[in-house]
């Protein structure tokens, strides 16, 4: 099949057509995006540990969200659904065969100049946290982030991650214990 490309006119048409294709108007999307973009991008950054990948998955998350045919009952439902898409995209990416291993590159980019001691300490702390999170399973990472960074309730986390609320408390406890253990013993127990 020939590769399809869009002309400039078709691109302009796409903009008009989007209002009909997506269940959300551009104005409603703009409001929703302002509320969720930074949390979603931060979440993807922490879950992948790779800024470029997080940027790609960020666009993909919103694209899939806009193409969804789900009728949302509330803004919370909409937000949970968005994070569920983001979680699934990270999981799918991990399942794909890797050609390059993303390192702590993205986090190193945020390290400030040595003169700013306090900021440097905080950056070092973030790198330590990033490395410690790498020791956890993706789902554990997600639930810890949603619980303690986003401040979500157990019900909200269970909805977003597709797990049973009843088992979440124990799972969260195990994940938290593992992270605390890695943070206390960064080089591993001897």
């Amino acid at each position: 099949m020939r590769d399809l490309t869009l002309t400039d006119m078709e691109r302009l048409g796409a903009f008009d057509e989007a209002e009909r294709t997506f269940l959300m108007t551009e104005e409603a999307f703009r409001v929703f995006y302002e509320l969720t973009a930074r949390p979603v991008r931060s979440y993807l950054g922490r879950m992948t540990g790779d800024d470029r990948l997080a940027d790609d998955l960020f666009q993909e998350t919103y694209y899939k969200f806009l193409r969804a045919t789900v009728r949302f009952e509330s803004d919370d439902h909409r937000r949970h659904y968005l994070f569920r898409i983001a979680t699934n995209l990270v999981r799918d990416h991990r399942r794909r065969p890797r050609h390059e291993v993303p390192g702590g590159e993205a986090m190193h980019d945020t390290v400030p100049s040595p003169a700013e001691t306090h900021t440097a300490d905080r950056a070092a702390q973030r790198i330590d946290l990033g490395r410690a999170l790498d020791h956890l399973k993706p789902r554990e990472r997600s639930m810890l982030w949603l619980a303690y960074a986003q401040g979500w309730s157990h019900e909200e986390i269970a909805t977003a991650l597709g797990v049973k609320t009843a088992s979440l408390k124990a799972m969260l406890h195990r994940a938290r214990h593992r992270l605390a253990d890695v943070l206390k013993h960064p080089g591993g127990r001897s």
Binding site: G13, A14, E34, R38, Q59, Y62, Q125, R126, W145, Y148
Partner: protein
Amino acid sequence: MNRYECAYEDRVTSTVLSGRWPDAADEELTMHAATCELCGEVAMVASLLRSDHDQARREVQVPVAGQVWWRSAVRARLESAQAATRPMTWLHGVTAAITIGIMLAGIGLAWPSIAEGAGWAREVVDPLVSHAAVSGVVSGVLRQSVLIGLAAAACLVIAPLVVYFALAND
């Protein structure tokens, strides 16, 4: 109370999330967290993740909403266009398969006439060449007709499969 729970856990969590931990937290709560392993872990992990989250939210760069909307709109249009051409490609494939099938069926149906024509040719040619040589050729052709029939039947089955796999990547 089991080993996963502590009565103070939710209070510790909400205090950390509200940014009051540890300086503005209740003294009772901080003293408890110092002695309770579970709450101590909650305080440590939640404080780190919350502060990481706050910093990430400040530093993270996100495109403007219009840009994300625009890219999604263009991609949706492109995918719709691709989806629209897919049935046409399938139609071409199916048409080709049916045409091949009809041709082979036609050959199969016409085969008696072809064999008859070969017999007539034999009668014409027979006086010209030795009897044994011509009858050998004709019987060879008739034997091959069975093989051709089998090949035609196989093609009827295989042709749609070939078309399917050829178009599968599209």
